[in-house]
């Protein structure tokens, strides 16, 4: 029986960061359904080595991540592996929302809305990281299909209340999460909600 070292309900719209030792597992539960959880991973000993969406896609020759997917770094090494998943597809392409991209996508006046990149920036300051360290992330529970002609859109999520995904660290890593506050598209069902975060020891 694995030991639980952390078990919290994390509020809607806010960021969270935590170290995850090699072999530890983090479970993210979508408590109310259809809640995008923007996630980045860093090598705890050398944070310039970080999650890389293209290396992750390349390693499995597929855009969606699910059980068994290795979450790869920019150096081509596995930071973590998805050890359990009740959803089946999570987005790798869309990246995080930001104040700046919101101005382009939805209107110049949207700059003052809460966003994931602002969340990351805020969380990073307390981890000794900065804007340069924010890169394209995974969006757990977010649904971004790509059609044959390349058309891509964020559509209604397929996760339901209680859906979860679990990652197992393959080296000592730091996990950064923004519980997405976006209200201009369906990634959170237009209603950001809390998530549950549980860390299990190896």
């Amino acid at each position: 029986m694995s030991k639980t070292v952390l078990d919290i309900v994390h509020p809607a719209r806010l960021s969270w960061s935590h170290p995850l030792g090699k072999g530890q597992r983090l479970r993210i539960v979508d408590l109310e359904g259809c809640q995008a959880v923007d996630t980045l991973l860093y090598n705890a000993d050398d944070p310039v080595e970080r999650y890389d969406l293209q290396q992750t896609i390349q390693a499995q020759r597929a855009i969606f991540v699910t059980t068994g997917t290795r979450l790869m770094s920019n150096e081509g090494r596995a930071l973590a592996v998805i050890s359990d998943d009740t959803v089946g597809n999570h987005d790798t392409l869309g990246g995080a929302c930001s104040a700046e991209s919101n101005t382009v996508r939805f209107g110049l006046e949207k700059r003052h809305l809460h966003s994931c990149r602002d969340n990351f920036l805020h969380a990073y300051v307390s981890n000794g990281l900065g804007k340069d360290d924010i890169v394209g992330n995974i969006n757990f529970f977010m649904n971004v299909p790509v059609e044959q002609n390349g058309h891509l859109a964020i559509v209604d999520g397929v996760s339901r209340a209680g859906s979860y995904v679990e990652i197992e660290a393959q080296m000592n890593i730091v996990v950064m999460i923004s519980n997405c506050p976006q209200i201009n598209n369906p990634c959170n069902g237009f209603n950001p909600t809390p998530i549950r975060l549980t860390i299990f020891d190896r």
């Binding site: 896609i57 390349q58 150096e75 081509g76 382009v104």
Partner: protein, 279 residues
């Protein structure tokens, strides 16, 4: 790998060294070599002046600032090259190419003529103003030391895109931190069956080119290495050049194609005002 990266000097290179040494020892003023003279020859595209040109050998890299309004042309001379590119705002290097925003804002994961290449700051790095190929990949990424070692375990001198980018940006004082997900030109990757990636094979013909008009001062880093899904694995030379494009009119299609583009250029023009590049 190209001749230029084999690491062994040819007879011609040895002879050239001796000739240069003789000149340097004897003559006060050094003359341009024939190769230098060729580079310096003024040439034009559509009546506009070519400011720089270079043949980038297979496996090689390049970095350069392309100023706002200048056009970077990449020519797939053999039709089999797959150059990978990343880009930074030269005046604010924490601002970089963002493939996610580029896809998301334009509702499409594929690139082509008329598309914009976005940074994460809601601003435009490049407009794709010409494109004779139509296949450019920003999903699958480029090679790393790990992927090249797995594919070519015997070839310790084979370069990879990530290390090339580190080298190219290193010339400007930047490093691993600035290397972000890239665009591979002249590469066809389709998403099939909802999620799987398919390499489309020979999608480019010799002489295909793409023209990227810089919309701010852009630091580009380019790696002329094989795309990791490219079964050919060939690494042929490409030609790169920068020319002074005609000024973009207010009704330039890149700016007016959709309301997202209009807002992105409002943001971009505002940045140019902030750095004094526009009144």
């Amino acid at each position: 790998m190209s001749e230029g990266l084999k690491g062994q000097a040819s007879e011609a290179e040895i002879a050239r060294y001796r000739a240069l040494k003789q000149q340097g020892d004897a003559a006060p003023a050094r003359l341009h070599s024939e190769g230098d003279a060729q580079l310096a020859t003024p040439r034009t595209i559509s009546g506009e002046k070519i400011l720089w040109r270079e043949t980038i050998v297979g496996g090689g890299q390049m970095s350069r600032i392309v100023r706002a309004g200048q056009v970077l042309r990449l020519v797939n001379s053999s039709g089999k090259s797959t150059p990978a590119l990343i880009a930074l705002n030269a005046d604010l290097p924490s601002e970089r190419l963002n493939t996610g925003d580029t896809a998301k804002i334009q509702w499409n994961a594929y690139l082509g003529k008329g598309k914009l290449i976005y940074s994460e700051m809601g601003r435009v790095l490049f407009s794709i103003v010409e494109d004779t190929c139509g296949y450019h990949d920003m999903i699958a990424g480029a090679s790393t030391a790990a992927s090249v070692a797995a594919r070519y375990p015997e070839d310790v001198y084979r370069t990879n895109a990530r290390d090339n980018f580190v080298l190219a940006l290193g010339k400007f004082g930047y490093g691993r931190r600035e290397v972000v997900p890239c665009i591979s030109f002249f590469t066809g990757i389709d998403v099939v069956e909802g999620s799987k990636l398919k390499w489309l094979g020979d999608v480019s013909k010799p002489g295909d080119f793409v023209d990227l008009r810089a919309e701010m001062n852009v630091l580009v880093a380019l790696s002329n290495t094989a795309h990791p899904f490219d079964a050919r694995g060939s690494e042929d030379a490409i030609d790169a050049l920068v020319w002074q494009g005609p000024p973009a009119a207010p009704d330039d299609p890149s700016r007016t194609s959709c309301e997202e583009a209009q807002r992105a250029f409002i943001n971009t023009d505002d940045f140019l005002i902030q750095i004094g590049a526009r009144a």
